[in-house]
Symmetry: C2
Subunit: 378 residues, 2 copies
């Protein structure tokens, strides 16, 4: 019998109600019917993003919206600060460089969060910096950045704050307006409980001032065009109709649960996963763990990739290995989106069986007991 | 009771079997399971594109792949010929200009196809032209371009031929390799019977030579990266997993019917629609009609938009108005993708009722009889 469990940091499981919505006959996008759906979806997005700013929906993966945040605000030779704590910070840097933006790299060790005072200092020394790029949850290291404190040091400068919240949105607290985040990038296949294929970008008034001046070339990701059509609940190009319709449903589910409850659920699942790993004698990678995903060092002599492969091939449980230089060294378990306590129990159980079988010495059920203890109160 | 009929040139109806495929639980993209699906899908795409060239699948609308064809082959200041017979030819021109490509515009009247000798002549006078952009089916005017003859005049020059086959693919004959088309752009929501959200780009060896030299900035649509990952049945960014899985099913359906039969079915539906319009006393817009869509001038005193609105609001039949300057002047009926003879009967019947109600003088059933006569033999 085949029965699989998806516990990766994207794609994440999609609720059956959302899948059913998308299995309805396709409708045309230039109709009152679709426009009403799109309008409702955009309002729901604002609730989840905690912003009153307009949010653009692209038919693309999250990387497309990351590119949109760069090419619509900057011009060739502009200076930007990019915080790099892993693969996704690197991606912002690569996009900036592909377009001739001068990058001040702020490198932090794998698993560590940046100190906002470093950014404050850099902004003082470089008053011509136009944008600061940060990552809410650096998925590759399961690390949370303190966006609130970065927002505070940027707020009174000329620079805008652009945050990649692709994997963090809906798991880690993000108060876009309250914290002064000018642009939030996200994607559909993480906390929003949808298949991949949609990307999002919120745009503050301060960001729009830069959009007006930006001369980098763009067409598909042209934000001015998208903002103009958004006023009429429309899109410049054909939207991914079925995905937008599914998204409305998943956002309705989030609103019904309440965003604070969604955060709390993720915090609890995250805590349970971390404590279970520790109870198994494992060490965590991150000193600033995210609510979306947990990364643990694999025990000496066992490759992280091997653990992931074992879980996949023997249990049909899909967790993730590390990326790049971390590929063999860690494994990652997501607690993200359409998941609740028993998904964590499954994940820990699968990891325990894998570790034991691969030769790691510990007592069966150690992690499970700890996870259960923490999850029992929610 | 609600029961609607989608007869627009994109999105087009999606077969229930395809919708069901996409309603399965989401799987991870970096798995042997997904890679096998992606590989099979790519082979099926080659069959429909009639090419042995690699085909890249983007998570984007068709416009994204149009942009990819420009930014990956050209450099700033390069010269390109763009054939402009309507809104979608214009789009290629706009993309080129957004990136500083020098455009030689070849304007043809609405509804007319370009004469390939004009292109031959221009290429002789401008031996430094790097690319010629054409549109297989110019959806805005329902007009077919003779790509074969354009391929002949380009074949022995240094220029590459880039064809927008977004609405034409699977409806109008397109022999990519035989006709020497270096890049074919397409999208999922037309002849491929899928929801919108995927775009495609095939790449010939001649095109790859330009890709190697192109210096226009790009990141999300970077073709070199996509070609490299494609060799491992992988993608640079998270693919739109559920859409790819649906696409495999719809392409399997096309292959089962046989591409020549698919063309023949579209040709017959197209002929029936045109002849029915004529039997109603209407005049067609195009002197070179496409198999994908038919455009007819609306009768004096009746706006095309009004006909479309009547069909939508009174019949739940979705046909299309004109675009831009043609908005009030024409109406368009698609015969594209998952449609067969009785969809045409529905379309003609809805148009007849609309025209009669809006005051046009003709005999009920004139168009229907003609359509039925033509469709009876298939």
């Amino acid at each position: 019998m085949k029965k699989f469990y998806l516990l990766t940091p994207g794609p994440t499981p999609v609720p059956q109600d959302v899948l059913n919505e998308m299995a309805n006959p396709i409708i045309h996008h230039r109709t009152p019917n679709f426009k009403a759906i799109f309008k409702e979806t955009n309002e729901l997005l604002k609730y989840v993003f905690q912003t009153t700013n307009p949010i653009i929906t692209f038919a693309s993966s999250g990387t497309g919206a990351m590119e949109a945040s760069v090419v619509n605000t900057l011009s060739k030779g502009d200076k930007a600060i990019v915080i790099i704590g892993g693969k996704f910070g690197e991606r912002f840097m690569e996009i900036c460089k592909a377009y001739g933006v001068e990058v001040i790299e702020v490198k932090v060790n794998n698993g560590d969060a940046v100190d906002s005072l470093v950014i404050k200092d850099l902004l003082k020394k470089n008053s011509d910096v136009k944008a600061v790029f940060a990552t809410l949850c650096e998925t590759s290291t399961a690390t949370l950045t303190d966006i609130k404190s970065i927002g505070e040091v940027i707020r009174d400068t000329k620079a805008i704050l652009i945050v990649d919240a692709i994997s963090g949105l809906g798991a880690d607290v993000l108060k876009t307006d309250e914290w002064g985040v000018d642009m939030v990038v996200s994607g559909s296949q993480k906390g929003l409980m949808m298949p991949p294929g949609l990307a999002f970008l919120s745009v503050s008034k301060k960001a729009i001032e830069l959009v007006e001046k930006s001369t980098l070339p763009k067409y598909y990701f042209n934000l001015k065009k998208a903002l103009k059509t958004l006023e009429k609940d429309d899109t410049p190009w054909t939207p991914a109709v079925s995905l937008v319709i599914g998204l409305r449903k998943s956002l309705q589910m989030i609103k019904e649960e309440g965003i604070e409850n969604v955060y709390a659920r993720h915090a609890k699942m995250s805590e349970a996963t971390r404590e279970a790993c520790k109870a198994m004698g494992l060490t965590l990678l991150s000193s600033s763990p995210s609510n979306a995903v947990t990364a643990a060092w694999s025990p000496q002599g066992i490759s992280g990739k091997e653990i992931v492969k074992f879980c996949r091939d023997k249990h049909e449980v899909f967790i993730a290995a590390g990326q790049g230089e971390l590929e063999e060294k860690i494994f990652r378990v997501a607690h993200l989106g359409y998941m609740k306590k028993f998904d964590i129990i499954i994940a820990i159980s699968a990891v325990e069986i894998a570790l034991k079988t691969l030769g790691y010495k510990f007592q069966f059920g150690k992690g499970l007991a700890k996870a259960e203890e923490i999850l029992s109160t929610c």
